[in-house]
């Protein structure tokens, strides 16, 4: 079964962005030509099957994050269609949606709700999440009293407690030290063992080599390579070196 299907998807933005009504009115009078488009994704077709672990690689601005956001249903395609089957949970940036005035515990509930989980379900999981975060003594203090490291640990504990059929991870290796990465990797392996589908965007190629079976290489909003992880990463490395 295909859990994600991108069918000839394009995502485009206007090159000149109009930010205010004033500007729009002035421009409608003075500007004679319409502004052009910038394509963040251009005619991309991609199918991800149930149970696959797919790594997505590419240089900065290649459209990797856009691809993940379209797949997650966060942004609508400008052209083409997206079909998803089952729950798709994006983990975009750790700590998204944290409120500094709320306590750690309240933030756990709020983040759970953002991912679509009921309070009752979160209540059944909260002890695990707090224990895993390792900041139990401070969990009822407002988040603004936390150190950056504590916030990151809490965010990671919440994000990886998700229980979705497909999980999209955007650059989660970019933050944290070596121990944190090992933790990430352990969690991803657990997702996989549970039978979840995992899509990982990463700049760091090493974890992908061990975790993924398939890799997709994105560049300039188009797919340049798609296949066995070793082959695609080798091609990608060669292009980066050359």
């Amino acid at each position: 079964m295909n859990v994600i299907e991108l069918q000839q998807v394009s995502v485009r933005y206007r090159e000149t962005k109009i930010r205010s009504l004033k500007e729009a009115v002035i421009r409608s009078v003075t500007a004679h030509q319409k502004s052009g488009f910038f394509y963040s994704l251009h005619d991309v077709s991609l199918t991800i099957r149930h149970g696959e672990i797919v790594g997505i690689v590419g240089p900065n601005g290649a459209g990797k994050s856009t691809l993940l956001r379209v797949a997650a249903g966060i942004i609508a395609p400008s052209e083409g269609a997206v079909v998803t089957r089952g729950t798709v949970a994006p983990v975009m940036e750790l700590g998204t949606g944290f409120d500094s005035e709320l306590s750690g515990r309240e933030n756990i509930y709020f983040n759970g709700a953002l991912l679509g989980f009921s309070r009752a379900y979160m209540r059944s999981r909260i002890d695990d999440i707090i224990a895993f975060s390792g900041i139990e003594p401070f969990i009822d203090a407002p988040l603004r009293t936390y150190s950056t490291g504590m916030v990151a640990r809490l965010a990671f504990a919440v994000a990886t407690a998700i229980d979705a059929e497909t999980i999209l991870l955007d650059e989660i290796f970019a933050v944290g030290d070596a121990a944190f990465r090992a933790q990430c990797q352990g969690r991803i392996e657990r997702f996989v063992n549970r039978g979840a589908t995992v899509v990982i965007v990463s700049h760091d190629l090493e974890p992908l080599e061990t975790l993924c079976s398939r890799a997709v290489w994105v560049s300039g909003g188009r797919i340049r390579g798609d296949g066995a992880v070793a082959q695609v990463l080798a091609d990608y490395r060669r292009s980066m070196a050359g």
């Binding site: 079964m1 859990v3 998807v9 394009s10 933005y13 206007r14 962005k17 109009i18 930010r19 205010s20 009504l21 004033k22 729009a24 956001r69 997650a72 249903g73 966060i74 942004i75 609508a76 395609p77 400008s78 052209e79 083409g80 269609a81 997206v82 079909v83 998803t84 089957r85 089952g86 729950t87 798709v88 994006p90 975009m92 940036e93 998204t96 949606g97 409120d99 005035e101 709320l102 309240e106 509930y109 709020f110 759970g112 709700a113 953002l114 991912l115 679509g116 989980f117 309070r119 379900y121 059944s124 999981r125 695990d128 224990a131 895993f132 229980d163 059929e165 657990r190 549970r194 039978g195």
Partner: protein, 284 residues
């Protein structure tokens, strides 16, 4: 620490979701989506209320204090002028003002909420209208608190309570629907044009003074009556004031116009929102 995953909880249905470019949001889909995110709606309202009251030193007292202070100012300033014509001027003013304040605050807060939650909307998939709905719901909670204050004031000054109060829930429902529609339209447009919020904020006092909230309709000269007739807020405010202050059900014509306005506002607001929503992400 190992986490025990409960696989049985995960639905095995693998529900299909299809998004086609250029397709506006669907009403049924959005309603279903909001229902599926009921816990987030609860959390948003909860956060809205707790953060607001935690941040202010006076906490919940502030909700009480705000109308009290306003009443004091307006009553002192205007009752001398209007008291003759309008007995219990404080009730006359506040019964309309709480409705107006709900409308003005909710629309402006809804636009602020979308701007504020923009980064969130780019990172998690939530029904796009959820933030607007949440702002309307927390506005309604605040409205209830203001009504408690109003009724307390009425009890203290000895203003009469009428059986017509039983009609108030219908009025509040229509007020809520009208406000939700206006908020949907305004949030959608304000995502595209950031200055719309400031324009609305600046325009609100003007609309308030064009609506008989602090003054009785009777003092409006005949040649300006048409201004009152074409102002939708007049009807919306009147259906709230009638059962509280006048002790009567709203006049059938006023109620009919208010009902049409409420559902018309929701229909138009949703129409604008559903067509603009697929392009929000480029402007957040």
């Amino acid at each position: 620490m190992p986490l025990a995953y409960n696989l049985a909880r995960v639905s095995s249905a693998f529900l299909e979701r299809r998004t086609v470019a250029g397709q506006p949001l669907r009403w049924m889909g959005e309603v279903r989506d909001i229902r599926a995110h009921a816990s987030l709606l609860y959390e948003l309202v909860h956060r809205d209320l707790t953060v607001r009251y935690k941040r202010s030193v006076l906490g919940f007292l502030w909700t009480m204090l705000h109308p009290l202070l306003l009443m004091l100012i307006f009553v002192v300033v205007f009752s001398a002028i209007f008291q003759e014509r309008t007995p219990h001027y404080e009730t006359y003013f506040l019964s309309a003002y709480v409705a107006w304040n709900f409308f003005a605050q909710t629309t402006v807060n809804a636009m602020a909420s979308v701007a504020w939650n923009g980064p969130l909307m780019k990172r998690v998939r939530v029904p796009l209208s959820l933030f607007t709905v949440a702002t309307t719901v927390s506005g309604l909670v605040n409205l209830m608190l203001s009504l408690v204050v109003l009724f307390s004031i009425m009890a203290v000054v000895g203003a009469p309570f009428h059986a017509s109060l039983l009609f108030l829930p219908v009025s509040l429902l229509l007020l809520g629907i009208f406000t939700l529609g206006a908020s949907l339209a305004l949030t959608a447009v304000s995502i595209f044009f950031g200055d719309v919020r400031e324009m609305v904020q600046a325009g609100m006092p003007a609309i308030m003074y064009l609506t008989p909230i602090i003054y009785p309709i009777a003092i409006v000269p005949d040649r300006f009556r048409w201004l009152i007739k074409i102002n939708p807020m007049v009807y919306i405010v009147e259906i709230v004031r009638a059962p509280i202050y006048y002790g009567i059900l709203p006049a059938p014509l006023t109620l009919t116009i208010a009902t049409v306005l409420a559902f018309g506002s929701l229909a138009i607001g949703w129409m604008i929102f559903r067509h603009l929503a697929p392009r929000f992400h480029a402007h957040l």
